[in-house]
Symmetry: C4
Subunit: 196 residues, 4 copies
C-alpha cells in the first residue's frame, strides 16, 4: 500500500484544522479599536496553535519521507493521530476565551492534555513504523531514523511538564506552550542538520 | 477517465467532514472544569464519528486500489456517497447535544439512518464498479475483490440493527455504534490478511 | 504552466464548499423528532446544492481533461468561477430558512442569480480555453470539445428561466432547480456517450 | 526535500481560507429582499478577499515553479506565511460588519495590517529561496526570478499606503484595497509576459 493518499488525507486534516482556528478569533464591542487590542489573547492562541499544527505537519512530512509503505494498522494509527490534531481548535478556543477568568486553569489543562496526547500518538505512529524497520524505505537513513526517535521522545515529556505547571500557574503554562512551539521551530535542525 | 481527481475530491470531503466535527464540541458554564467533564458525550461523539469517517476513508482507499478507471456514473455514485459522508456532522451534533434529554431517541435514529444509508451507498458504489469487473484494474486480486464484497455486505445490516435498537434504548444504540466503529478497526484484517 | 495545482486548488474549493453546506442544516425544538421531520427543506437544500456542486466538479474534471496547459488569464477566470462556487452555501442557507415564510421569493432569486452567474462563468472559462484551441491538449477530441460547448451553452438559459419563475412562484422555482440538478446527472451522457 | 507536500498543504490552506469567507456573509430581517440588497458590503468584502487570496495562490504557484527544493527554514517561513493567509477571514468579517458604523476605521486598519504583513512575509519567503539561488531550480529563468523580486517589492508599500489612508478616510481605504486586488489581476502580466 503506497502512502500517497495517506499524505493527501493528512495534509487535508492539518490544513483544515489550522485554518478553522480563525473561526474562533472574535472582537466586538461598542469601541472596535479598543476591542481589537483587548483581543490579543485570541490572536496569540491562534498563532501558537497554527504554528504547532504547522510543526506537526512539517514533522509528519519528515517522518513520511522515511516511510516506504503503509499497512492498515498504520492507517488507523494515523487516523487516531489526526483525530487529536483536529481536536486542537477546541482547547485553543477555551484558552483564548478564558485567559482572563477563573476558567484559565481548566482551559490550559485541556490544551496541555490534548498536546501531550498528540505527542504520545506521534511517537506511537513513528515507533510502529520504525521498530525493526517495519515500514521504512529500503534506503532509509539510519542516522535520520534514530534522530527522529530521539527527538520525538522528548515531546510528550515537555508537554506533560507544561501541563502540570498549569495546576500552579496558568500564565506560566501558556508561556511554556508558546516557548515549546517556538523552540521546535528554532531547534528543528537537531535531526536534520543540513538540507539546503 | 483516471481516478486521481476523484481521489483528491473524496479525500478533501473526508478530511473536511471529519475536521468540521470539532466545531460542535462545546463546553461552557460558570465552572469550566466542571463543564469540561460534563461535556464527555460531545468528545465521545467526536471520537466515534471521526473514527467512522476515518474507517470509510481507509475503505475508500482499499476499494480505489482495485479500481482502474472511472466513468460518469461512478463519479456521480461517488458524489452521492460523499453527500452522506459530509452529512455525518449533523446527526453527530444531535447525538451529543441530546444525550441526556428526551431527544436522544430521535437523535440516535437520525445518526443510525445516516450511517445505514452511507453503508448502503458504499455497497452500491462498490458493486457498480466490481460487477462483471466493470471498472476493476486488469490485475485486480480476485480474492481481495470477493473479500470486499463479503465484508461490505454486513455493514448496512449492522447499522440497521443498531438503529432499530434506538427505538427501545437510545443508550444501547449509541454503545452499538461505538462498538461497530471499534470492531471495524480491530477486524480490519478480515479481507486484507497480511500487508506489511 | 501545468494544470495540476489548479486542479488541486479547485478540488479543494469544491470539496470545502460542498462540505460546509452541512453547517447550515439545523433542527431544534422541544420535540426533536418533530423538529427533524419539519426540517426537511434544509435536507433538500443540502442535497440539491451538494449535488449541484458535485456536478460542477464532474464537469470541471471533464473540461480539464481536454485542457493541456494554463495561462494566468485562465487561472484568474478559474478563481472568479470558484468564487461563485464557494458562494453557493449562502443562498442555499437562505432558501432552506425561508422556505415557509415571506422571504422565499428573495431567497430563490439569490439562489438563481448565483447559479446563473456560475453557469455564465463556466462558459467563459471554457470558451477562453477552447476558442481557437488556445489551451487545449494537442490530442483534444474535437467531438468532445464541441459537445462540451453545446452542452454548457444551455446551462445559463435553464438557470435564468428557473430564476425568473421565482418571481411568479417560489415553490415551482425551487422544484425547477431540483429538476435541473437531477437532469444533469441523468443526461450527463449527452457529450460523453461511452467511457467505461 | 521535494516541494510537493508543501504545495498540497498550501493549496489546502488557500482553498479553505477562501471558502470559509462565505460563513461571514449574512442577510436577515423581516424583509429578506431589502436585507439582501443592504448586505452588499459583505458580498464586496467576500469578493475582494476571495480574489486577494486567489491572487496570493496564483503567485505562490508562480514562485514555486521557480523553486526546486525546500529546506526546513523554508517550510516554516511558509507556515508563517499561511498563518497570515488563513487570518484574512477575520478582518474581512470586521470590514463587512462595520462598514456603516464607527468601527470602520479600526476594521480597515486590521485588514490593512493583515494584508501588509502578508505581503512582507511573501517577500521574506521569496527572498529566502531566491537569494544566491539557494532553493531555485537548476534551470530557473533569471528574468522571471528578477521580475518576481521587483514585482513583490511593491506589494508591502501599496498595502501600507492603503492602510495609512484608513486613518483619514475608511471609505477611500476600502476602495484602495479593491483597486489593488483588481490591478493585480489586470497587470499580472508584468513578470509573466507571454505564456499562452
Amino acid at each position: 500500500m503506497s502512502t500517497s493518499r495517506l499524505e493527501a488525507f493528512s495534509d487535508g486534516v492539518f490544513a483544515i484544522a489550522a485554518t478553522l482556528l480563525i473561526l474562533d478569533v472574535h472582537a466586538d464591542g461598542p469601541r472596535l479599536g479598543h476591542a481589537l487590542l483587548l483581543a490579543w489573547p485570541s490572536y496569540a492562541a491562534y498563532g501558537v496553535s497554527f504554528l504547532t499544527i504547522g510543526i506537526m505537519w512539517v514533522n509528519h512530512h519528515t517522518v513520511l519521507e522515511q516511510i516506504g509503505r503503509a499497512d492498515r494498522t498504520f492507517l488507523f494509527l494515523n487516523v487516531f493521530f489526526l483525530m487529536l490534531v483536529a481536536f486542537v481548535p477546541f482547547p485553543t478556543r477555551l484558552v483564548a476565551e478564558h485567559f482572563r477568568d477563573g476558567g484559565a486553569r481548566a482551559a490550559d489543562l485541556s490544551y496541555g492534555i490534548t498536546m501531550t496526547s498528540t505527542a504520545v500518538f506521534y511517537n506511537a505512529l513513528w515507533l510502529y513504523a520504525a521498530r525493526g524497520g517495519r515500514l521504512l524505505r529500503e534506503d532509509a537513513d539510519a542516522s535520520v531514523v534514530s534522530g527522529i526517535t530521539r527527538s520525538y521522545r522528548v515531546g510528550p515529556l515537555m508537554y506533560l511538564a507544561a501541563t502540570l505547571v498549569a495546576l500552579a500557574s496558568p500564565r506560566i503554562s501558556v508561556a511554556l506552550f508558546t516557548i515549546i512551539a517556538l523552540s521546535y521551530v528554532m531547534e528543528s535542525s537537531v535531526f536534520a542538520p543540513r538540507e539546503s
